[in-house]
Symmetry: D2
Subunit: 390 residues, 4 copies
């Protein structure tokens, strides 16, 4: 029994399903994790899911997630389905005794997130594990950043500047997509990108956002009807009648962290030239760090203890054997890619199951992020006034 | 008479006086400007002003600015004195028929700025000229940026991200300074750095800020008493009893430009590692630009017209003969320094006098900046609510 | 038969074996390649090879490469063993009718490389395929570079500047390793790093090195005896008696390309701070490109056709769907890692087998690289005089 | 007499004359130097020299350098004339008892440089001073580099990589210029750019080049006849009959420093996209530095003493009060330009006169550079063989 592998069922095989699959397929080749098996890939279209399963390394397929959850031989349910399904599937899986991974953001609303967190509390008492997949926590450079801060190397933080800039919606004539419908996606850049920003800011600093003033903007309010929910980021169709865009193209907020820092955040899908520009700047009274996801193997670190006249931002190429996770991969200087953060995340999840330690990022942390997003929406409806978070 | 030089009186010889002096001393060596003479340097301490005049190239000195303004042989009054003196000196000089240069920000309050703008309106009718010295408008890279936008190369602007980050107040035990007293400096980072940001954002985009939500923060609320108003940026003293800091260490705002863009701004003197980090990012639907004052000879330009697969931010080294102002200096690739922006500004001023064309940045533009700063202060007092600017 | 997978035997499971394994394990998840099976991993120590096989995804193991080559059910022999074994194993495999992949450099000497190329010529006539794994040809940014040059966008090339700088031998007290013994490794930085440089220069420019003047240097001539041939890059031992280092720590050359360009190259394992710094600069009369392997998702491109005043090196983030190979991975801006170049290489190899097209990099190209390395050695023995290559 | 200013005569008012003039005009405004006076500007065309003198701040003009040198009221002779005049003018000025500044390179040949060094030896015994103006020694970032090396922070140097890349000759149809005629310019990129590289490498490392293997290349061997010796870098004419280019477009060398390091150098005027790209990389066993003149306010420093996992190249913005020379200019982070290096150089020269200390860079150092250039030419004529320098 101890040697039988943890059997995974994954729901969804679009962009995120593909990323999760690669992590399951490779995690044991690099990390000493409990044995794990890609047992079943779940999707509604049998032919498509079979083709995906073969390509992505899954042993079998299924079309009804409820049946899969009911099976005894599944240990982990990995949810890559659209946000509107997260709460229902995750709660059912937890109630069925499964460990659960939910792709971020945790849910489409605070209410859903609260129910999920409650369901997990009950499950945790039964020895189950669950995480929301804020994978950027596992980018080695950001782990180094988090440790430097935890070790006091940055000192008292005064400023956090965070942005997540993409440009795939720049073209006003681009087609409609499920990601631009509120009922499917919950929100736009706010949930998709803002959730990453809110989580990484709080995680790396070790502080909570206490209050926030923010706003939302939809630059392009209608687009030609396109796909009806397929896999690509942006629907390929277009040319149909105009359909209203019901989510934000951009969102922002200025808040206060529990340690007193000012945090300024901005996310958008309309910053031409920025492809995947999650940037983070943290300034304390002893040091500073900056990071850019487009260059994720690097961390810039300014150490205020360096001798006068010799200070400067130091480009740490976070690819050395003694950097977190990196020793498992290649020799110094051989960079890793974006998807490796998923592999690290899943290794951590498997270790926490093996060791019966708390799994993170927890649903409670996912709920906290949801509250930040909701506060930005509320502030946006109140002329930018600060909203307190409890 | 046509050949007699324009005679300048400059008030103040600290940091800004030194920068202005270099521009007067050198402008005619590089640009075809009307003859100009460094006639008199004005300061209250006779010995110090004499020493400064000799070092900085002034032909004579005086201690009473009123007497100097009253003289017939002075054509231009150049005000580098602290902000609290701007309105009084500038209005008196305008009334005495002089051309006037006021160091930025124009004034310590909207009310002062309004009076100055009114005084200039009357003077303009008499053929006088006046500017507020937002010198960064004359950084060649920012001129290129402004022209690209004016030519439609950036398209409809969606996002402007601007920051001015310095770190000289990071140390909490650093001494008090006149710059940290509201009665002397008007405000802290807001007026000193925020005025540059507000001006450059509006100037480069060619748009006005219509509304803004913002805030202020003083991280270190008292400091050991230091100097009593000397020349250095930070007093050298310290060690005395604690004195309250009455200005902001940091300020920020998120606003809307007249063309519909979202503009996010942040200024601080506590971003460790940033020495003079005025950064600007502008994203449109056809192109994007970024700029960093610590690297002021460069402009990054993303041209959305470049072929697919070949797009990227292009580092334009703005040091070529056909770049603005640059042909007057050195061959391609020989970079210029921060102070050269003053030389360009003064050349522009002298040309506008010679050609009887409007001088810019005008007092009206300086007043508009002042209104932005006041709106941030008002928003800060109103829980971050948006304040409309007329 | 058409549907039966190509069955691979891989010899070696250290650094390179691990990299090759990941490519075999994942190539079919991203690219439409013929079915392939990780059939057998070959190594001399049964326990170690079994453990490696399980981790890296191999279905079985073997300890004698001759037996494996003799098997009918093996289609591809993938040689990751030390350089001294390349010729013997590759020639045997080719004679046994297998397709062959040889890790770079092709051999430890020109003579070996010649025999291998001859063996392949005979095998090619029988429909077999073989490559030497110069994987950097498959880095997307370098494919873009190669295409820009082939399309005439760089124009007539005048200068190529190439370097491969690492620092893992900087410490003079570091232990001896098989990589520092001539009988095992053939040469030092010259073969290990210089082979990459010589290949990528010739491949990207599409030109051959016609003549070269060069040199070699061993900075640390003896080191404490360490490992006896294990897997790590640098032996972990040390502390033993001093053993002579019989290979070069650094090598360099200045040559002439067939198109008339000057090419300057330098490789070293002693450039402190450079972890995996393969850099390439190519200057033509119409454009220029630069590249750095530590940042392998980026290509810098200077287009001489850009308007005057708007020219500059453009940072192309080579992560877009229409960039080579990249569409198979993640959305725009999601960077890939170093190992992905192996996946691309193996996909190309499988495609060439499927389509019966020539496989590259060919043994002939590997031989040409070997001749460049030999010419540098010869020049080094002749006071730096130019050596002509036929 | 002690208070009477040092009176300067400057010969030449093209690019270099303009740069020297600015230094004379401004040096006393920033540095505590002995009083200095821009006494006379010397040039052959009376109208042109008068116009230049007025623009550049000279009190008078003259057309015959011999007469000026004969005058009693001239203390310093500053030679910005073409290289072919250096030896004659400098020797005459030294014999006339003047202090002398010679623009680099010291001469057009080793023989001339030897005579100049000999003339200075005699003059030095009489208390005179002379320098060759290798102004990059006075770039603050390079002073920091030189000090780090002198302090042992880089350790034993293994590799020096230096290049000076420009692109103004890229266009094959560009016109002929005096700079491309051997009888006027002595050599091409070799003397113009290579002299800077040879000097800065030897100065910053504190080591001499002992032997060198090198080469020269003229890519464009004839150009349309253009100017007959005017001021611009490149003649404006063109369109005339083709005239042979008799100097090199590019030069290179690989040498050995006295401390055992390998130094690789390359200079060219045909690296499209590089405007003024003097780059320097120095790798030792304790640290490393890199520098780029296009970004001259920055130094990159890798400190091998930094903790494992926190190492990286540190961007030192060399604009702080405690950096060399910088305190005299502006507050932290306010960058200086290319021409400031001349101001620093002249301040150093004036201080050495005041203090009767040796002036540097000395003629002996200029001669040593000349020998390096001659060795490259000799090696180029001997198939790249190493040439020993005594």
């Amino acid at each position: 029994m101890a040697n039988s592998p943890l059997r995974v069922a994954s729901i969804g095989y679009a962009f995120m399903g593909k990323a999760h699959s690669q992590a399951w397929r490779n995690v044991a080749s690099y990390f000493d994790v409990p044995p794990v098996e890609q047992a079943v890939l779940v999707g509604r279209q049998p032919d498509a899911v079979k083709a995906a399963a073969q390509k992505l390394g899954w042993l079998s397929t299924a079309s009804d997630w409820r049946e899969v959850i009911a099976r005894d031989d599944i240990d982990i349910v990995d949810i890559c389905a659209p946000g509107r399904m997260h709460a229902e599937v995750a709660i059912a899986a937890l109630e069925a005794g499964k460990h659960v991974i939910v792709e971020k953001p945790l849910a489409n609303s605070v209410e859903e997130a609260q129910r999920m967190a409650a369901a997990f509390e009950a499950a945790e008492a039964r020895g189950q594990h669950a995480i929301v997949n804020f994978n950027y926590r596992r980018v080695p450079a950001l782990v180094v950043a988090q440790r430097l801060i935890a070790d006091g190397r940055i000192g008292t933080i005064r400023h956090v500047r965070a942005a997540y800039l993409q440009d795939w919606l720049t073209d006003s004539s681009g087609p409609m997509s499920w990601r631009l419908r509120k009922e499917d996606a919950g929100s736009g850049a706010l949930g998709d990108l803002g959730s990453h920003v809110a989580d990484i800011v709080q995680h790396v600093t070790g502080q909570n956002i206490l209050a926030i003033s923010g706003g939302l903007r939809t630059f392009v309010t209608e687009r030609p009807a396109g796909d009806s929910g397929g896999g690509g980021i942006l629907g390929s169709g277009g040319g149909g009648p105009l359909e209203p865009v019901t989510v934000d193209d951009a969102a922002w907020g200025t808040g206060e962290l529990s340690g007193g820092a000012v945090v300024q955040m901005e996310v958008t899908r309309m910053a031409l030239g920025r492809k995947n520009g999650l940037t983070l700047e943290i300034y304390g009274d002893r040091g500073a760090i900056t990071f850019d996801l487009e260059n994720l193997n690097e961390l810039q670190f300014f150490d205020g203890r360096d001798a006068a006249g010799e200070q400067g931002f130091r480009r740490i190429l976070v690819t050395e054997a003694d950097h977190p996770y990196v020793g498992a991969w290649w020799p110094d200087g051989h960079i890793i890619g974006w998807e490796h953060s998923f592999t690290h995340q899943f290794a951590e999840f498997l270790w926490s199951i093996r060791d019966s330690t708390p799994s993170t990022p927890s649903f409670a942390e996912g709920l906290r992020v949801q509250r930040v997003l909701a506060a930005i929406e509320e502030s946006a409806s109140n002329s930018g006034s600060y909203i307190r978070l409890d």
